[in-house]
């Protein structure tokens, strides 16, 4: 799984391990979210090259299965605390493109009124709570969210994310330990995309698997192939079930690859070519597309049609947002405190 074993690996796309929990329409839906995330990403990259994007553009190419498959395992009362490479989860939670684009481009009408950008927003109606830049900080917050529901006798699950880098923050430790002691319904996806900015895993930690940390918290831990969406989904369904049953948090490490630089300004020349090639074969969308085509769940034409429609929608959202002005200056002076 890890790119360490690169050389010996086969060069063909590895097959998906189908989950018994999924119906074909659900498969198509997940596929659609992944494609949407990918196309959103490509669009942002394009805007960035054109100098029309705003703020950092953090690609999530390579992460679609991890993000979509995990969020898809949640129920309609559960909450999502996504990170900077989890656009897929926003779509699963029903986010519309205009709202997202207004946030990314900090335009008038953005849920954040221009105070912040990218996916940092919260959309309470959709049960999406954005993150802050400081890595690890949202883990205790996501835990506290479900501590509150638990106190009220509600059983909702909170899902959040951290990277192979962010797992080294003190707040990761305090948050996961707190959730474990309180047996909170928290699912933490550790997205190990092999790099934290320019730092490979070996700079960040010395354990075999990041899910090995579960033992030291007394919670559940598992490391999986994060490019097989059905595996991600099924693993997360089990984690969500355990959470609902009161069995406490799970650390699910999804092994993936960050297929571009940390953000678009980064040429990621520090990533060995062979590593990228290895993971290119495991592109989560390619893998799932092959599977869906081979199982005849979708035809090649279907895929083209879906993709074309998504691209059009994204283009429309960009056209809509980019013409809008930035929020007016007065917004800067509002809401330091709420009433």
């Amino acid at each position: 799984m890890k790119s360490k074993s690169t050389a010996k690996e086969s060069t063909t796309i590895p097959p998906i391990k189908p989950s018994k929990l999924l119906t074909d329409p659900q498969r198509v839906e997940m596929f659609r979210y992944m494609l949407q995330a990918r196309e959103f990403d490509l669009a942002m990259q394009r805007l960035n090259r054109q100098g029309r994007a705003f703020g950092g553009v953090y690609s999530q190419t390579g992460n679609e299965a991890s993000s979509v498959g995990s969020a898809y395992a949640l129920g309609n009362k559960d909450v999502l605390f996504p990170m900077h490479r989890n656009i897929g989860g926003h779509f699963v939670f029903g986010q519309d493109l205009n709202t997202l684009m207004l946030a990314f481009l900090a335009r008038e009408g953005s849920l954040m009124r221009g105070t912040d950008g990218t996916g940092h927003y919260a959309d309470i109606g959709r049960r999406i709570y954005g993150n802050i830049s400081h890595l690890g900080a949202m883990i205790p917050v996501a835990a506290g969210f479900v501590l509150a529901s638990k106190m009220r006798g509600e059983t909702i699950v909170s899902m959040t994310y951290i990277g192979d880098g962010g797992s080294q923050t003190g707040e990761f430790h305090e948050g996961v330990n707190f959730a474990s002691v309180q047996k909170l319904p928290l699912v933490l996806i550790i997205e190990n995309n092999q790099y934290a900015y320019s730092s490979p895993n070996s700079v960040e930690f010395a354990c075999e698997k990041l899910s090995d940390r579960a033992l030291g918290y007394g919670c559940f831990g598992e490391t999986i192939d994060g490019t097989d969406i059905e595996l991600v989904y099924e693993t997360c369904v089990r984690a969500v079930e355990r959470a609902r049953k009161g069995e406490g948090p799970s650390l699910i490490e999804t092994n993936t690859m960050r297929m571009r630089g940390h953000a678009e300004h980064d040429d990621f020349s520090y990533v060995p070519k062979e590593q990228l090639e290895y993971w290119q074969k495991r592109d989560p969308i390619d893998r799932y597309q092959s599977f869906l085509l081979s199982k005849k769940i979708l035809s090649a034409d279907d895929v083209t049609a879906i993709r074309t429609k998504l691209i059009e929608e994204i283009r429309a959202a960009i056209d809509y947002a980019i013409e809008l002005p930035f929020p007016s200056a007065e917004e800067g002076f509002k809401n330091i405190f709420v009433d």
Binding site: D116, A137, V141, M151, S158, F178, V338
Partner: protein, 324 residues
Amino acid sequence: MPQLTYLEAIADALRTEMRRDERVFLLGEDIATYGGAFKLTKNFHEEFGRKRVLDCPISESAIVGAAIGAALNGMRPVAEMQFMDFVTCGFNQIVNVAATTAYRWGIGVPIVVRGPSGGGVGANPFHSRNSEAWFAHASGVKVVCPAFPADAKGLMTASIRDNNPVVFYEHKGLYRKIKEEVPEGEYSIPLGKANVVREGKNGTIVAYGSAVHFALAAAEELSKEGASVEVIDIRTLVPFDQETVLASARKTNRVLIAHEASLTAGFGGEIAARIAEHAFEYLDAPIMRVAAYDAPTPFAPTLEKAVLPNAEKVLSAMRKLLTY
């Protein structure tokens, strides 16, 4: 009205609010079984249960972070720092998560982070800090520093009811030192209202927390010497009641600012700056400050006394100011 200590008054506020509003709950280290290091929440878990009086691991970031998360989900948590010094371990959560959420998301984060601060009790550099100025500079956090039992109750009530993050500095030296009549039942004092605790006309001492008592003692002494000194307890640093302070400066024309926190970049500078900008024409003398020497708060009583401000130091500075 019952006579309560400062500590009892705070406990009374917590208890009253917890009875009134089931969204209010407490979390912190050793607050349930033990009732808190200062026994402020003694027996609370018996009335409210261990879920609403939650003993937590030694993880200040998790405590504050969990409070924020619970607040986002409809609760009104009150998080205890066993000593306010340990807020440095939960600092990021307060200044970056709690302080920015209203601005960024339009959602209030109604948490209170409270605990014992301050020196003068022979603790050590890590159990004596007065760090309120850090949060006053954080933009998005309210900062409360009561000096009296009744104020402590009223301001705690208001802090719990406030829809924004509040850092609430209790002075451990005041916990059992003073008793006064404290209104029973629900009692709230709006945040952002300074209190003229003693009227005077020859000069003003602006203070908060323990320094209010230094100021009052100095004013009392000075009254024997024929000087009439006004004492203003600002009570909350954020929001800051600029008008009350300026009004007094304009009336008495001489201002001394006193706080227990160390001098440099303490909140006294902020107060002085506002007066120097907005009441400049009324001043007959330099604005003076009495504060701790810029050092960690030392352990030995000889050193601690030398480093921290006290009534005598305020008195002698005020004498100078009045004769300027």
